[in-house]
Amino acid sequence: MARKPADLLHGTLDALVLKTLSWGPMHGYAISRWIEDRTRQVLTIEDAALYKSLHRLESQGTLESEWGVSENNRRAKYYRLTARGRAELRAETDTWRQYAAAVFSVLEAT
């Protein structure tokens, strides 16, 4: 069952964006598609929220942006991880792993 985007835990979207960008610079649309494809459309992200997240992360210095040319020859804004962003992603991933393990250990308790 697809969860509604609004139900995404706070900070989850940021973590997903950082993870996505760890594969390389992308523009917003590509990020959106990439997340949908990876989660097999389980997580559908509202575009407005995605862009807010991108700009927020950029203001925090975890991302930086640059205007480039897209696959179909249009000007597009590309985001890429900064060194700080990479460190942030590592920390987020650890947190998520612990969180998930904790939830699983409860759900699968016999």
Partner: protein, 884 residues
């Protein structure tokens, strides 16, 4: 240069301009549009109609407007931060670059820093001192409301302490004051078997300590009861005295010390540096309670006004109370109460002196500024190519100016900090050499405002005089130096003219200062050499006081004085000793009508004469030569003999001998016969007419009073005479007091302290100015030689003799110097009139001073120019002509 810094600089040069808010919004819109278009394409690819695809894309997006607002606001904030970071980054870069530039030219940097430091140090020190003396309030809480209360004569010329009755009436009735206290000083002898010592005791009423907001460090303060008749004698020790005599032992409280043979219980110790304002350098070692009783005579009054009460309204209230008080009213007509600040006690002469010093130090600062401008102008001209290359590489003109600004700021701060050190040391020096009139200087401290003042001056001067040349050098025809060879002598011709003008200005200001210093030094020398009429070296005076209650008749007093004199003559090293009423420079003054026998009664009214009552040996001991007649004889008072000074004899009996004439100083008094004429005793003084009344000497008959001055001439300058005198007095009677033991020579020298102070300070300023001007001249000549190396090379190659080349350089320089000296001497004649009140036996336009200053300056200028001129002489034509 490292790879890293090169890269950073490159980044800076290609930096994108910052976006405005509209640009940010446009970027966000473009980003979103791209997204929506791609999403619509995707949906169309899945088979939707174009319109439906667009609606679908919008639907998927969510709240477009909210996201847009959010992103624009966020981006704008980021942009501002980046802009700020870049700005600070640039500043850091500028400073780093500036430091490198300054290190590359250490000589120039050093000259600028030292020049600024000297100018600022001197100015700050003098400014601190003058501000402290003329402006600062008393340094205690509410000090701006603390005043002395005294009485002023009807014509405003004389001030005296208020009468005890008036003070008592004011205490009862006045509402203008928070506190009204009284204080005075007396001299006491600390009786101690090992080392008796004379001390100044500050006597203060119980109000004084609360008035000053001071509590004792140990023990308690005085109360009104402490000063009552019959109360136990108590004292509070001064901090320094307590440390020195009792090793800072806190158990001293409760013990007794013996003053003038009486026991006093120590009830406390004052905090460090405690003093009462208006004591003006009298350093009280111990403190005693002063009675508030109206019968106390001669006590000074100190008051703290209530907040908001003006001096005028306080004075009005005091007058009214005095008029309504029956006892005070009698004198109310002639003497008006007046409240005065410490500053009011400085005479106008002292104030003028301070302003002259401030003016002089201002000239030093001006010269320093001119020097800084001079050096930096030369540097700016030399660096035109650098600036131009920078501009060509894309640095905006603002950027270049900022560069220069950073360098100036660094120089200024360094100069300012060094200047503060100089000011701090200078202030210490000023305090050490201060004359008695400026005793208040002892409390002067460098405070944060002064530090701020110094740094502000240094920044303003440094930046102003650093920036102006930079703008001057870069502003016009920036590309010229790239086109032409930078060494061509036409480049910076305007700057050269400006620099020569600056040097001329420096020279002439130095001349003014040198002339002023010269006049003051001549004054001091003249005062030192002025004939005093007696020989003070080896003379000591002491004031001996017999306790009145024990020596009630002439017989007793004669015996005591005789015994003391006999024992003093027995002290090793004492050549001769005698009694007199006073001794120069402290002679009594009498104001009265002078009548000469056989002449009509004087019509000129009262005359002022110095008078002294002396023994026959007095003149021999003082080495005060007798010009005519004979010394006073030691016969009884019926002889009525007097001696007069030479100038008085000449004035009163012109053309005839004074010896044998008779005079009296009050009508109806007995006539006195002049038996001899002695040389004038004069003390040179500046400001105001010298005392011209002359001296009259009476025979001193022992024991008229219970006080007398002991005059001692020693063969050897044996130390310890003061202690020996106290011991002698104690041996005769422990209650006899010995006061004011002083070498007469040092008393005379103290009279010149003001002139010495002025002379030392002005000489220091003048020498500083001279050094600065010399450096400035050296800089100009050295620079012009370096600019003309090619020309010199050509001349030498064409056969000019090296000496001729050197002469060429020196001649060019001589024009500047002569112009500077002439202008300076003209300016000096205009301003030295201001010094008139500070001079003795020297005219403000003293030709000797003017000529020697001119010659000295020419000589110094020659030396300053000689060094670079020699370099010009030794230019190697081959090297010079090889060009760049």
């Amino acid at each position: 240069m490292s790879e890293g810094s090169g890269e950073r600089r490159w980044q800076r040069l290609i930096r994108f301009p910052f976006r405005g808010r509209a640009g940010i919004a446009a970027d966000v819109d473009e980003e979103f549009r791209f997204h929506l278009d791609r999403r619509a394409e995707e949906l169309r690819a899945r088979g939707l109609e174009p319109l439906a695809a667009r609606d679908g894309a919008l639907g998927r997006f969510g709240d477009l407007n909210d996201a847009r607002r959010y992103c624009v606001a966020l981006d704008a904030r980021v942009e501002r931060g980046a802009r700020r970071r870049t700005w600070f980054g640039d500043i850091a870069y500028d400073l780093k670059h500036a430091l490198r530039q300054l290190r590359r030219a250490p000589g120039v940097s050093l000259v600028v820093i030292v020049t600024l430091a000297l100018g600022i140090g001197a100015t700050t020190a003098i400014f601190s001192a003058v501000r402290h003396l003329l402006i600062d309030p008393i340094p205690v809480p509410g000090g701006d409301r603390i005043y002395a209360v005294s009485r002023v004569s009807g014509d405003g010329s004389m001030f005296i302490t208020p009468r005890g009755e008036a003070v008592a009436a004011w205490r009862r009735g006045a509402t203008s004051f928070e506190h009204l206290g009284t204080f005075t000083t007396t001299e006491r002898t600390l009786s101690a078997s090992d080392a008796p010592e004379n001390l100044i005791a500050g006597e203060i009423s119980a109000d004084v300590m609360p008035l000053l907001g001071v509590r004792p460090l140990l023990g308690r303060a005085f109360t009104n009861d402490d000063a009552r008749n019959g109360a136990a004698a108590v004292t509070i020790l001064g901090h320094g005295f307590w440390k020195r005599r009792f090793g800072g032992d806190p158990r001293i409280v409760g013990q007794t010390i013996s003053l003038d043979g009486r026991p006093f219980t120590v009830i406390g110790v004052m905090p460090r540096n405690f003093s009462v304002p208006f004591l003006f350098g009298e350093t009280a070692r111990i403190w005693l309670p002063l009675s508030a009783d109206p019968s106390v005579v001669g006590a000074r009054a100190i008051a703290k006004l209530r907040p908001g009460v003006t001096r005028e309204s306080a004075e009005r209230e005091l007058s009214e109370i005095m008029r309504s008080d029956p006892v005070s009213a009698r004198s109310a007509g002639e003497w008006k109460p007046i409240v005065r600040r410490p500053q009011d006690y400085l005479g106008t002469g002292t104030r003028d002196t301070l302003l002259v010093l401030l003016g002089a130090v201002g000239l030093v600062l001006l010269i320093a500024c001119a020097n800084v401008a001079n050096v930096l102008l030369a540097r700016a001209v030399a660096r035109r190519r650098e600036f131009v290359i920078r501009a060509a590489l894309g640095a905006g003109s603002g950027r270049v100016v900022r560069q220069v600004l950073a360098e100036s700021a660094l120089l200024s701060v360094a100069g300012g900090v060094l200047g503060l050190l100089i000011a701090w040391g200078g202030l210490g020096l000023i305090v050490r050499i201060r004359p008695q009139q400026l005793a208040a200087l002892d409390e002067v401290r460098m405070n944060p405002e002064i530090v701020a003042f110094a740094l502000a001056i240094s920044l303003v001067t440094g930046i102003l005089f650093g920036l102006a040349p930079a703008i001057f050098a870069t502003g016009r025809r920036l590309q010229d130096p790239l086109r032409s060879s930078s060494r061509s002598s036409t480049a910076g011709a305007g700057a050269g003219r400006a620099r020569r003008a600056l040097v001329v200005a420096e020279m002439s200001l130095s001349v003014v200062l040198l002339v002023a210093a010269g006049l003051l030094v001549r004054t001091l020398v003249a005062m030192q050499q002025a004939p005093l009429g007696f020989d003070p070296s080896g003379l000591t005076r002491a004031w001996i006081i017999l306790p009145a209650e024990r020596y009630t008749n002439v017989q007793q007093r004669t015996e005591a004085f005789g015994e003391i004199l006999r024992r003093v003559r027995g002290i090793p090293g004492v050549e001769a000793a005698t009694w007199s009423m006073g001794v120069p420079p402290d002679l009594g003054i009498t104001i009265g009508t002078l009548e000469l026998e056989g002449r009509p009664a004087a019509t000129e009214g009262n005359v002022t004469l110095q008078f002294n009552a002396v023994t026959p040996e007095y003149f021999g001991i003082l080495k005060n030569p007798i010009r005519a007649g004979r010394p006073l004889s030691d016969r009884d008072s019926a002889a009525r003999e007097v001696m007069v000074s030479e100038s008085m004899a000449r004035r009163q009996w012109p053309g005839e001998s004074a010896v044998g004439q008779r005079l009296r100083l009050s009508s109806n008094g007995p006539w006195n016969t002049v038996v001899g004429v002695v040389a004038d005793v004069t003390l040179p003084s500046t400001g105001g007419a010298p005392f011209a009344g002359g001296q009259v000497y009476y025979t001193r008959f022992n024991a008229g009073f219970e006080e007398a001055t002991l005059v001692v001439r020693q063969t050897t300058g044996a130390p310890g005479l003061a202690t020996a005198l106290v011991r002698v007095a104690e041996a005769v009677d422990p209650m006899i007091r010995v006061r004011e033991v002083n070498a007469v020579g040092s008393l005379v020298q103290a009279r010149f302290a003001k002139e010495r102070f002025n002379g030392i300070l002005l000489t220091a300023f003048a020498v500083t100015a001279l050094v600065l001007a010399g450096v400035g001249l050296y800089g100009v000549v050295a620079y012009s030689v370096s600019q003309r190396v090619r020309e010199m090379g050509i001349r030498l190659a064409l056969g000019a003799r090296p000496r001729a080349v050197m002469r060429l350089v020196l001649l060019g320089e001589a024009r500047l110097t002569i112009l500077g000296v002439v202008l300076g001497l003209l300016a000096a004649t205009a301003v030295t009139g201001l010094l008139r009140g500070m001079l003795y036996a020297v005219e403000p336009t003293d030709p000797l001073t003017f000529v020697s200053v001119g010659v000295a300056l020419l000589a110094i200028a020659l030396v300053a120019a000689w060094v670079p001129a020699r370099r010009a002489m030794h230019v190697d034509p081959v090297v010079a002509l090889r060009g760049e």
